[in-house]
């Protein structure tokens, strides 16, 4: 394919640019970026005169925002820029679907992001792989199946988070930063589970269909199909809000419980430390989701708040009733290996199942506590049985 312009013409066009002409004439006087006043004084420079002290942890977004005399705007600016930056009159504006602060913010987002950065780890370097010890074959098989299941689960946020992240107005960069950190966490979980499956003489087990439970595939639901279909198409206006409930609050809470259980079951420092690291990451994700729902319900305009609360309760009832999230605890290819690991051997399966039953009760209680914290009281309304249904 031939270009409609040759190199000589291209160079001529560059030289004809007004600024290039100016520089070619020796006029190096800086432009508006240097001479303009800050926006507060009517100019197009962003803002000026910020002062703050690093704390014992360094330069943290928490202190940075606290010390800033300019509040975080309630509405995004539609600019791909820092929220305090100035804009040239012809700067392009973008329509981000999530542009209100209440739609995206979480009470703890700055500190959670800082914590995420501080607690990153390497699946290659930070796990004591050399301390893996051979397990009895049934135990290694159970662990490989358990980890295969978790490996699958990790694809869900990786597939879905970037979709929402790209829709958040850049004025709320803390939210985007946190979501990026969550993407990095999920990728690392996928990596570490992928490595663990191969690391101790076993290998990947069966694809467990866990993602269908988290993504609410009506085919996997225990609800009648008509209701299941309604749930999978909840009002799209609340898409991100529903997502935070669906994935970050109930789905990841159950996954967090799985990771805690993985640590509980681990028989060597390698497996123990792997789950302990992962658990920390997951608890941040759950915390973000919980406090984000709370922020929304505290700050949305009244009418919207009431409707959103109703929608969330509907969604919660449906998820609880359908086994979304908690359905992971009813998935044979996850729970059976889990019970076998807790039992220690096939001859002891009863004991293993008793532990799983106790675990169910703990997980439900903590879920209800988190709902309470999010301003979505489910005590007395929760459709989940407090005791394991098996």
């Amino acid at each position: 394919m031939s270009m409609a312009i040759d190199k000589k013409q291209s160079v001529e066009r560059l030289k004809a640019l007004p600024q290039v002409q100016r520089w070619r004439e020796g006029n190096y006087e800086p432009g508006a970026w240097f001479t303009s006043k800050p926006a507060e004084e009517g100019g197009i420079w962003g803002s000026w005169g910020h002062r703050f002290q690093p704390n014992r942890r360094g330069v943290s977004l928490v202190e940075l925002n606290r010390a800033d005399r300019h509040p975080i705007p309630t509405e995004g600016l539609g600019l791909l820029a820092d929220r305090e930056a100035g804009a040239e009159p012809d700067a392009p504006r973008y329509d981000y679907p999530l542009r209100e602060k209440y739609q995206v913010w979480s009470y703890n987002v700055e500190s959670l992001y800082e914590e995420a950065m501080s607690r990153q780890w390497s699946a290659t370097r930070d796990i004591p792989w050399d301390k893996l010890a051979p397990l009895p074959e049934d135990q290694e098989r159970a662990l490989c199946q358990f980890v295969s299941f978790l490996h699958t689960v990790e694809f869900v946020p990786g597939d879905t988070l970037p979709f929402y992240m790209a829709r958040v107005d850049p004025s709320f960069s803390e939210v985007r930063l946190f979501m990026s950190s969550q993407c990095a966490d999920e990728a690392r979980h996928m990596e570490v589970f992928g490595k663990r499956m191969y690391a101790n003489g076993g290998g990947p087990g069966m694809e467990p269909g866990a993602e269908a439970l988290l993504l609410f595939d009506p085919r996997k639901s225990v609800l009648p199909q008509e209701i299941a279909k309604t749930v999978s198409n909840v009002n799209p206006t609340w898409d991100f809000l529903a997502y935070s409930y669906f994935v970050q609050m109930i789905g990841e809470a159950v996954v967090l419980d799985f990771f805690r259980f993985g640590e509980f079951l681990g028989r060597n420092p390698c497996d123990k430390e792997m789950f302990r690291r992962i658990m920390q990451d997951e608890a941040r994700h759950v915390s973000f989701g919980t406090m984000r729902i709370k922020y929304y319900l505290d700050n949305a305009p009244r009418r919207e708040r009431e409707e959103a609360s109703e929608m969330l309760h509907f969604l919660a009832s449906a998820c609880e009733a359908s086994g979304t999230g908690f359905g992971l605890l009813l998935q044979p290819s996850a729970i059976e290996p889990f019970a076998l690991l807790a039992a220690g051997s096939l001859g002891n399966l009863d004991k293993g199942w008793d532990v799983v039953r106790e675990f169910w009760a703990t997980a439900v209680e903590e879920y209800i506590n988190r709902c309470e914290r999010a301003g979505l009281p489910r005590r007395g309304r929760c459709m989940l049985p407090e005791e394991a249904p098996f």
């Binding site: 914590e115 607690r119 640590e263 509980f264 658990m279 608890a283 919980t290 675990f359 988190r370």
Partner: protein
């Protein structure tokens, strides 16, 4: 010279762990910063229930003090980890014997089912700090491997 023994449970015992944490900044920096107000509660000791309030910030434990039951609320902990003296003693002895908690004696292992240890608090999101920073808390408790502990 033999190390002087420190009695468990006591403020000095937790201070000994804090001192070890504070002198190993690089190790704790690798785990990530800690921001927690924690209460370790030892029930059914010879002297009744004992509570120790610890403040963690950055890569350090900044404060250790004993609290009466009535002082816990004012201390405003993110979480309380609670268990009876016998379980604590077994855990501390296990850590001493292995250099760190063995698989049956990690904090999460002891807490997960709500027995023999239990982690609780007013606000589940603050309780979740326990899970968010557990790697550091486990390392902190494992410091007791280097403390000569006596039991009342």
């Amino acid at each position: 010279m033999a190390n002087q023994k420190v009695e468990f449970p006591s403020t000095q015992w937790f201070q000994a762990l804090a001192a070890r944490m504070n002198e190993q900044r690089a190790k704790y920096q690798n785990f990530g910063f800690v921001t927690a107000r924690a209460v370790f509660r030892v029930t059914a000791t010879a002297a009744g229930n004992r509570n120790f309030g610890l403040v963690f910030d950055g890569f350090e434990c900044l404060e250790v003090r004993e609290l009466t039951d009535g002082e816990i609320a004012q201390f405003d902990p993110d979480w309380t980890m609670e268990g009876d003296y016998a379980t604590w003693k077994e855990m501390v002895q296990n850590i001493k014997a292995h250099g760190e908690a063995d698989p049956d004696h990690t904090l999460n292992r002891l807490c997960l089912l709500g027995h023999p240890f239990r982690v609780h608090g007013e606000d589940q999101t603050r309780v979740d700090v326990f899970y968010r920073q557990l790697f550091s808390f486990q390392a902190f408790i494992d410091e007791s491997a280097a403390v000569e502990t006596s039991f009342a």
